[in-house]
Amino acid sequence: MTPVLYGLLVGILFGFALQRGRFCMNSAIRDTILLKDNTLLKSVGAAILVGMIGFALMTMGGLIKISPTPFFWGANLVGGFIFGIGMVLAGGCASGITYRVGEGMVSALSALIGLSAAATWTAMGFLKPIKDSLQTSTKVMVGEANPTLANIFGLSHTVVALVVAAIILVIWYFVARKNQDDEPKSTDPLVKRIFKNGWGWLAAGIVIGLINMLAFYSSTLAGRSYPLAITSGWLTIVKLGMSVPETKMGWDAWLVIGIIVGALIASLIAGEFKIRWPGWKMIVQTFVGGLLMGFGAVTSAGCNVTHILSGLPQLGLGSLVGAIAIVLGSWLMAWFIFVRPQNA
């Protein structure tokens, strides 16, 4: 098997875990202000921590090389903010809309088409000049490298990552001890808990963190050297459809196909597959959301997966700024369309 096909395998695992874990970063970020529900956010936090520790150990073992996204603060901010607005309209983050296609949600498919279209226009079409000017005018590097929380101080990545992870774990421990929420323990047999019930937040977070480690290693074997990411894969698939010269199915393009297959398998086993039609109004809204996400992701050099799930564990500054901008954009839009009408 050629290494690019590892992308398909990792994608199937990732899609399965996303569907079972109901792992959606759009919900994770939005629910904190909308429903005062932190369950999914804790899941995302667990996945980031596993990635942070895992990547650090794998770097030490020489299995991978830390490869942070570029830092261009203007593009990271503007792109991330627009992406955050888009994902609330689209009803899902980049990974969210990808896996929900496998669950049969037509709204997710329309968001995905919007994302792919706008990503293409921004990478190589009429929106490219906007992206280019934002990126080049605000780009900052540390020597030849993209800046991270480690290399700006000239420190070793492994050491800084492990220290940051340890600090987060300690803070988390004390916060969690103060707000203990007793989740009911499931007594169902293990097979049922894996294939039929939704996963708990901790299990989902850890599994997704582990899949991300596998992703980093296997994509390194395929010559790509980055953990999970979504938008670049869709971009490749659009380019192939347009017969752009020298485009090949890469690890990341197989990954997104795999996610849909994995989520389809998971939802079929659990009996949760259903073609869901949300009405034309929603189709338009999710499509527009997808467009904003596509522009934002390419401008900011990353969607929520690239920046939050894969970038934060690598301590990249570009991903840190991108992630904060995504959160702010998402909160603004969630307030605008959900909170404000309720108080009116």
Binding site: R22, C24, N26, S27, R30, D31, L34, L35, K36, D37, T39, G91, G92, G96, E103, M105, S107, A108, G198, S267, A270, G271, E272, F273, K274, R276, W277, P278, G279, M282, T286, F338, Q342
Partner: protein
């Protein structure tokens, strides 16, 4: 058998409309009235029960119909 006062069908709706529509409907109901929610979105089937308590509403039952389709009965808490 509890008879619902009102029925809300949020099948096909995207995240987080099933949750938001349910909470909005409950807010407008009197104490003790029963809301029946029909939904097919897996995340909301788990998330709505989790968040009802915070608003003081009471979950009476969640019943799986076929596949992802669920029927939920909720007793409204009424105005605070």
């Amino acid at each position: 058998m509890t008879t619902p006062t009102k029925t809300l069908n949020v099948c096909g709706k995207i995240c987080p409309y099933p949750d938001m529509d349910t909470m909005t409907a409950l807010k407008k109901m009197q104490k003790g009235e029963i809301l029946e929610v029909l939904l097919d979105y897996p995340l909301s089937v788990e998330r709505i029960p989790r968040n009802l308590k915070k608003q003081g509403h009471k979950l009476i039952s969640v019943e799986q119909l076929d596949g992802p389709n669920h029927r939920m009965l909720i007793e409204a808490h009424g105005l605070k």
